[in-house]
Amino acid sequence: MDLMRSEKMTLVQLIIPVESAHRAISYLGELGLLQFRDLNSERSPFQRTFVNQVKRCGEMSRKLRFFKDQISKAGLLSSVLPVVEPDLELEELEIQLAEHEHELIEMNSNSEKLRVTYNELLEFKLVLQKACGFLLPRSNHAVAEERELSENIYSNDDYVETASLLEQETRPADQSGLRFISGIICKSKALRFERMLFRATRGNMLFNQAPAGEEIMDPLSAEMVEKTVFVVHFSGEQARTKILKICEAFGANCYPVPDDISKQRQITREVSSHLSELETTLDAGIRHRNKALTSIGYHLTQWTSMVRREKAVYDTLNMLNFDVTKKCLVGEGWCPIFAKAQIQEALQRATFDSSSQVGIIFHVMDAVESPPTYFRTNHFTNAYQEIVDAYGVARYQEANPAVYTVKLGSFMEMLFGGRYVLLLMSLFSIYCGLIYNEFFSVPFHIFGGSAYKCRDVTCSDANSAGLIKFRDPYPFGVDPSWRGSRSELPFLNSLKMKMSILLGVAQMNLGIVLSYFNARFFRSSLDIRYQFVPQMIFLNSLFGYLSLLIIIKWCTGSQADLYHVMIYMFLSPTDYLGENELFWGQRPLQIVLLLLALVAVPWMLFPKPFILKKLHSERFQGRTYGLLGSSEFDLDVEPDSARDHHEEFNFSEVFVHQMIHSIEFVLGAVSNTASYLRLWALSLAHSELSTVFYEKVLLLAWGYDNIIIRLIGLAVFAFATAFILLMMETLSAFLHALRLHWVEFQNKFYHGDGYKFKPFSFALITDDDD
């Protein structure tokens, strides 16, 4: 019964003393069987009682995110220590987190400072190494001549030209008018930097550059950046300030390179030793930091889940109201009736554990608002429940279609969705394969030989004159001999169409019968008398009759044309049926059925709204005073409790609704029945496709006496089977079955306008806020 209808739910009220509130709520969260209603919905989040705690939790989860980020940046795997520590108090945790954060930030800033110094030194070293190459020719022409030739022919040429232009007059005296700035810049900016320098000095400069070779870490983004060493030669003080400004603007770091080679060597040595020192310091810092991070990483998951729980508890507490004395919190919520004992037990535990003087009051209230819907499912049924919920959550205690999904959703050869869905589908498709007695559209004599045989031994006219029947019908499913015969398609199509209609009528009838059980459950005799009965009559007098004819035709082997019978039942019901008469008294029966169907339409359209109107006016006759009083009472006590519920009756709305419903049913009876023919269409498509692949691909390829062609044919066949026949067809079969289930079946009885039971439960808190 627990899958047929929702659990019985009840509205309960909790009055919790302030001192045990937190504990009570967290115990309830562990239990996870109570859904709280928000009693403060008109207040904005920061006007609620426990906003500070929520903020603190938010702050803590920010810190935890920071840790997580740092750990993943450091490339450490956050492993969980198997040892579970005793639960910390929130305050302690807060202090611990703050300490850890402080420590980490300090370490980060220290290592950042070190990193900056390290980068500077490294850059200096690179500049020294590379810039010497540009500067050497100036200080010592003779020595560097060879290197000059091999390395900077171009730049040297440039240099000579520019220099000669620049200092035509001063050149003979000395080169002291020509000065240089050396430095290092990001490779990506180098080109623009050079252009800017050129513009600023009007071309009176010489720009040399060389790739630094080593990548340098950018302290801000922690990415490795390629850099370029440059040397700018220029003359004049004004140009110097300009160039320095441009360097600053481009973020280029300038380092002085002494002219003297011995000095250069000395500085290089100093820088290198500094560098190695710094490197060890940096490494030690990183090791220390990693250690700290690892120790944080051990607890991170536990802390995160704890903070998340705390936040959930305070969010729930924010949904409660203070009572008049400000000493108790009042909460309302829904719980399934079976869980009342468990909840009470948890509440008692909470009272005891927090050594509160006053117990927690827990009592049931009556509700006008519809309770949430709660089905207890297991792994197997959950998949089907989800399929139904995707359409709409059942109205409270409405018959649950998922049960029938399990049983009926699996009509066709295949279905798809969750592994359990797949299991049932595969079982059913194997069954269908057995019914058709074929395998890859190859006839398969599994239940003995065929009932038919050829007229003569050569079997030469088997496809023209047909076979003759010589023994009892095939024991199970379709006789394999139909396969490949001339009348295969007409025979199978007619069979499948009729089966589809039978299945469809049966399922629609089941849907209507379910609406009867719903109506009986809600004690609504109105729905039974003016909805269920006429619907049943209408459907069965037309399509139930058709099903009956189909079965009779199958049993008697009659030649009657059912299309003709059905069409002339409407067009000229009094005419003589002739050879289409299947049984005695068919004509009067048809007339009676037609009349019944005609009567059923106004039957389901008119009485219900009028009776509703009458009932409504009877109920409120002479009660104008009472109504006003009661609504005032409601407003006074609990303005937004579940109990106040304003009932209004609008006749035209009810009538239009009923009219739509009736029209939908009448038209739907025809269109839905036709819609079930999709089963036949799917089956036809599937069998034709498999025939095509088997005959036109596999057999064709096998016809050649060439191993390669055969292999190709086999590959194409395997591919088509796996992807088209199995995957695509499974998907389409599932979609069609789903549609039949949702539309044709469920619209007969399923309202689906309920809302789901969402208990406050720690197990359900996912990390959606991360």
Binding site: P45, I246, A249
Partner: protein, 351 residues
């Protein structure tokens, strides 16, 4: 092409229009502002904003918040959205989107140049620049000594270069010159943008010409009010007005000779759309004029969303978001400085 946008607009612009309308739906609503105005601390504001689209941008900020952080993060969100749209855009929408940022570029140039003139640190100035108006060599602006250098060194590479043709002088930069430069640039920019929109034609031209005309007129009024009592001559003032808009040309003649705020008012009240703005102000008052203009602008920007298949929505969205960020800044400042009574002074509601 007029009137046939519906046939072809969605080929290239449909996706982005959907995106921008989605973004527009994320603007803060009246209830949000109501709640924000009731906040006691900046943390409350953060908490409230975390429930809006700004949530992901603010959630990792440590607790003692500053107004600047809030504004910075909110702007970052706008910039991210803008960049995303620009990446997806094709011509001519990408050009249109780039046009929207030129205004910020002008402001940034002026900011840096003024800052260097007063010997501020370049890095500090760069942080104050609007991220939408950044261009590659912006930091180099500090090198320039006069307009000619400014143009030759830096701006020749930027899209602002053509606008500079009118203000290249060899004069040294001073506050007055810079302000004139800003307005000349802005004038050239608005006229260029206007021309571009006219070239696009259709609903874009129709809506954008209305919005840009309003912008131009507002600038004309502001220039007039700000130049009252300065040494700027009438002819010079006249030159700074953009050559389109409702006030062009006769209104400009009148504004050019105005000597006080009431004369401006007299000139403006002849134009019905501006009459309603000035009727909100008492005589001799110019303090609330900015707010009145902003309110009118917001109203017009919101109306741009009423029509489909045009680029005006992008412009309108960017402007509305900027207005929202200004509002957030004002609210946060008021909350931070305990001046909650003044919250409503400068907040322009967007609905």
């Amino acid at each position: 092409m007029y009137g046939f946008e519906a046939m072809t607009f969605n080929i290239h612009g449909g996706y982005l229009e959907a995106i921008v309308r989605g973004h527009r739906a994320g603007l803060l609503t009246a209830t949000d502002y109501n709640n924000l105005c009731q906040c006691e601390t900046l943390d409350d504001i953060k908490m409230h904003l975390s429930a809006t689209e700004y949530g992901p941008y603010l959630q990792n900020e440590p607790s003692p918040l500053h107004t600047t952080t809030i504004v910075e993060k909110c702007t970052l969100k706008l910039v991210d959205e803008y960049k995303h749209m620009l990446c997806q855009a094709t011509e001519p929408l990408s050009t249109f989107l780039e046009y929207i940022t030129y205004g910020h570029m002008i402001d940034n140039v002026v900011l840096i140049v003024t800052g260097t003139l007063h010997e501020r640190d370049v890095q500090e100035l760069l942080e104050k620049c609007h991220p939408l108006g950044m261009f590659d060599s912006i930091a180099t602006l500090a090198v320039a000594q006069n307009m000619r250098e400014l143009y030759r060194l830096v701006l020749v590479d930027t899209p602002l270069a053509p606008y500079f043709s009118e203000c290249i002088t060899s004069e040294d930069l001073d506050d007055m010159n810079i302000e004139i430069m800003r307005n000349t640039l802005y004038k050239a920019y608005l006229e260029d943008f206007y021309k571009f929109c006219q070239k696009l034609g259709g609903a874009t031209a129709e809506i954008m010409s209305d919005l840009l005309a309003f912008e131009a007129d507002r600038r004309a009024v502001n220039i007039t009010i700000n130049s009252i009592g300065t040494e700027l001559t009438r002819d010079d003032r006249r030159k700074l007005y953009s050559n389109f808009g409702l006030l062009y040309p006769y209104g400009h003649e009148e504004l050019a000779v105005c000597e006080d705020i009431d004369q401006v008012r007299g000139a403006m009240e002849k134009y019905p759309p501006y009459q309603s703005i000035f009727s909100k102000l008492s005589y001799g008052e110019s303090q609330m004029l900015d707010k009145a203009f902003y309110e009118e602008e917001v109203k017009r920007l919101c109306l741009a969303f009423e029509q489909q298949f045009h680029y005006g929505v992008f412009f309108a969205y960017m402007r509305l978001r900027e207005q929202e960020i200004r509002n957030l800044m004002w609210i946060s400042e008021c909350v931070a400085q305990n001046q909650k009574s003044r919250v409503h002074d400068s907040v322009v509601f967007i609905f």
